[in-house]
Symmetry: none
Subunit: 241 residues, 2 copies
């Protein structure tokens, strides 16, 4: 699915942003980068910022126009600040847009188009899109760096596409019986230290049980806590002699 | 709410990343930037990359240690690759983590901690966290540029705050400073009871710190635990007389 999705960068001014975009894409499992008339490419700065994603730069497709970059796509998505005019195209936020991208990428090619650093997409470019996506942002300062915008959208696409379920690592937890023995031991020590006194038992034990049940000590941790209780008892015994 | 959230950057190598981080934060309505021993700051490159977020750089707080940066925080979150060891702290993905951040920021200060470009957070830094967040990513190339990771998490925080789908958190949590006092107290008592002996200090304190950081005692629970420690000390003192 992700191999059907491409990122198209138009007239990028700073080559560093191209490199950062490549890294952001690869981090999220995307590989197809199209560059429409970048100011400077290839570039050392792009390579440096790409880090482990230089292969995306090497395989990038250079074209002369947006038309060329999207010719074989069935869905073209423009990124836009929320306030900008949308020509009455559907405007989705990044999350909803990503769901749509993933859904359509199962059947055909999808292009995510990003504009210039200073002025985004021109009107004639916005009009070539099927829908627009905006990134929710601070209304007082909503314009993201282009590589950051790419990172966010690719991330939303990756999360939408992720179907794997992860199983948690199994810690070894004590049985309830062992927890019971721990609580008995704890109570005995707290009576010795007079933290619990018979006249005012209060809710101390309930509260401690709540805390330790919530904490879910692993078996080795429980053994350590038992060891601490024993060390307190032995100290008291020794002093009593 | 967002004003209770800070971003902490540790030992940032490239000043450009600090600038990009500031812009990413401001785009998402966050303003509090803490810098722990950056290699170069202030810096022209940071200013350039910050664009319209230079005010965040001017108001950034420079500190010498992570401890200083998080002293008044009730929740400290480390960012970590999913594969990295987490010391069995809770590990949430960015979205779930953001919901938690927004919920807790209603009552206290929250720190989002980001490590070095090359090696992330050191183990002793990861252990100072209450929970870890990972960003879902391509398993073959999962490490994001630090400013991109900041962009993603701040975005998730912004979206979570915007949606206000969070559930209120009722408990009052202690500050990290109070946790530090508790650990000192615990260590003192364990030396008294000779659970810790100078010749074989082992990893006892690390393990206990890990357990209690994971457990996140509420303030009343921490007070109770401190009370228990005091009762042990008083018992020992009385017997010594």
């Amino acid at each position: 699915m992700l191999s059907n999705i491409r990122v198209v960068l138009i007239n990028t001014f700073h080559p560093g942003n191209i490199g950062a975009a490549a890294r952001a894409m690869k981090n999220m499992g995307l590989t197809n980068l199209y560059l429409v008339e970048p100011r400077e490419f290839p570039s050392d700065e792009a390579d440096a910022r790409a880090a482990g994603a230089k292969d995306l730069l090497e395989n990038a497709t250079l074209v002369n126009s947006l038309e060329e970059a999207i010719a074989d796509c069935q869905l073209v998505i423009g990124t836009s600040a929320r306030t900008k005019r949308t020509f009455d195209l559907p405007l989705l936020n990044a999350r909803k847009g990503a769901e749509r991208i993933v859904a359509e990428s199962k059947q055909g090619k999808v292009a995510l188009v990003f504009g210039r650093e200073t002025m985004g997409l021109h009107n004639d470019e916005l009009q070539q899109c099927n829908l627009h996506i905006y990134i929710p942002a601070n209304p007082d300062y909503p314009v993201l760096n282009v590589s950051q915008a790419i990172q966010l959208l690719c991330y939303e696409v990756y999360v939408a596409a992720e179907e794997k379920t992860y199983t948690d690592i199994e810690e070894e937890y004590p049985r309830q019986k062992e927890m019971g023995l721990f609580y008995n031991h704890l109570e005995k020590v707290l009576r010795t230290t007079e933290f619990i006194i018979p006249q005012h038992e209060g809710k101390v034990l309930d509260k401690l049980r709540r805390f330790f049940n919530r904490s879910r000590p692993e078996r080795t941790e429980l053994n350590m806590l038992r060891g601490i209780l024993t060390s307190i008892e032995e100290t008291v015994e020794k002093l009593k002699k």
